[in-house]
Symmetry: C2
Subunit: 223 residues, 2 copies
């Protein structure tokens, strides 16, 4: 058996478990977001800032994926949001089975939204469906313009890209329009959103608005 | 055969090929550096700035690893340095066999230094020995303080860490001393260096000095 065949077997198995996860989510009307991006792209900071704005409107839980530490789950729990931590112990991505293993700890019927923050990695997570509705890639403008061209799979498989840390643009060589063009060249269907920090506050309204609108469409389709 | 066993087999095979690579490098007295780090941590920019400073002293070639594009090899060739591009087509790291496949294109006997820039990824590359002498992890201060704790394998297996973009520190929440403490907690043997951009110039003297000193030691040991 070659390496490629092993990978194909693992991915076929993952797709099957992801489909089962998706059935369970849909049965309870839970909308699921899978957030991906490089280490330090700003995934957890984005969560910390969108969760308080979604809190009044949606019952939300979070699953955090990391190689090691409980750091991110602790950051989320400080906001009063239920957070489960998966440690992959070296694994470079979450898979559908790891998510399935967490679902018994969640009251799905009492949830509107489940956000999964994947392991920080712009390569591996994008090949593994977890059963989500929305695939969000987080890319910091400090990472440089051409990352979508150099890591195309992440953007090919995404619905939404969030460009973070745009307040750093004056101090960087990054041209955000060129960065957006690179994303568009890989996948013109990706919705591109921006966040920034201004006077100590994170501006995440575009992301919050997009999530609420997507959940609205999901619910309408399920009626 | 379980997934773990497959991985162990692949890694054992990789170690064997890496040992063969290392023999070939040592036979020609070529010092080899394997540079790892997240996408956008500043690996290629570091190379662009150290290569001209090493050029007068060392005969150098570069191997670039990326999922897609020839972008990085083209950036290096502009400096007049021989650069070979490996595209992994989705693979999240280089392995020893990929490097072995490039060696016929290089005149090893006419080289002092081979620098390999791995695929942008803080997880996968660290588990695959390529036959290098120096393992260098590049971490941008924009990625946040706790990355060494959350991605420990990269730092456990490294000799050197380069903290880049320190000129952005005034605009970030990162405390560089805390970041260094995190590295030290994972692996106190890692030499930590810094780079910054000042008045449009990249300050990379610490890195250049370290490489020259390591090569000096390597040559002395080989005498």
């Amino acid at each position: 058996m070659t390496k490629v065949e092993i990978n194909q077997d693992l991915r076929a198995l993952n797709r099957q478990v992801a489909a089962e996860n998706r059935k369970r989510f849909n049965a309870c009307g839970v909308y699921v977001i899978n957030i991906m991006g490089s280490p330090g792209s700003g995934k957890t900071t984005l969560l910390e800032n969108i969760l308080p704005k979604l809190g009044g409107k949606l019952r939300t839980a979070v699953i955090e994926g990391d190689l090691a530490t409980q750091n991110d789950a602790l950051r989320i729990e400080k906001l009063g949001v239920k957070a489960l931590q998966i440690n992959t112990n070296g694994g470079c991505h979450l898979d559908a089975k790891m998510i399935a293993g967490q679902l018994q700890k969640l009251d799905l019927a009492g949830l509107d939204l489940l956000i999964i923050e994947n392991v920080g990695n712009l390569v591996c997570p994008s090949s593994f469906d977890l059963g989500e509705n929305l695939r969000m890639v987080v890319l910091s403008v400090a990472e440089g313009e051409d990352k979508p061209a150099k890591y195309p799979i992440a953007f090919l498989n995404a619905n939404t890209a969030v460009l973070t840390k745009t307040d750093l643009l004056p101090y960087l060589d990054t041209d955000i329009d060129v960065m957006k063009r690179y994303i568009n060249d890989v996948n013109p269907k990706v919705t591109v959103l921006e966040t920034a920090k201004k006077d100590g506050e994170y501006q995440v309204d575009q992301v919050v608005g997009h999530i609420l609108s997507q959940i609205g469409q999901y619910r309408k389709a399920g009626e």
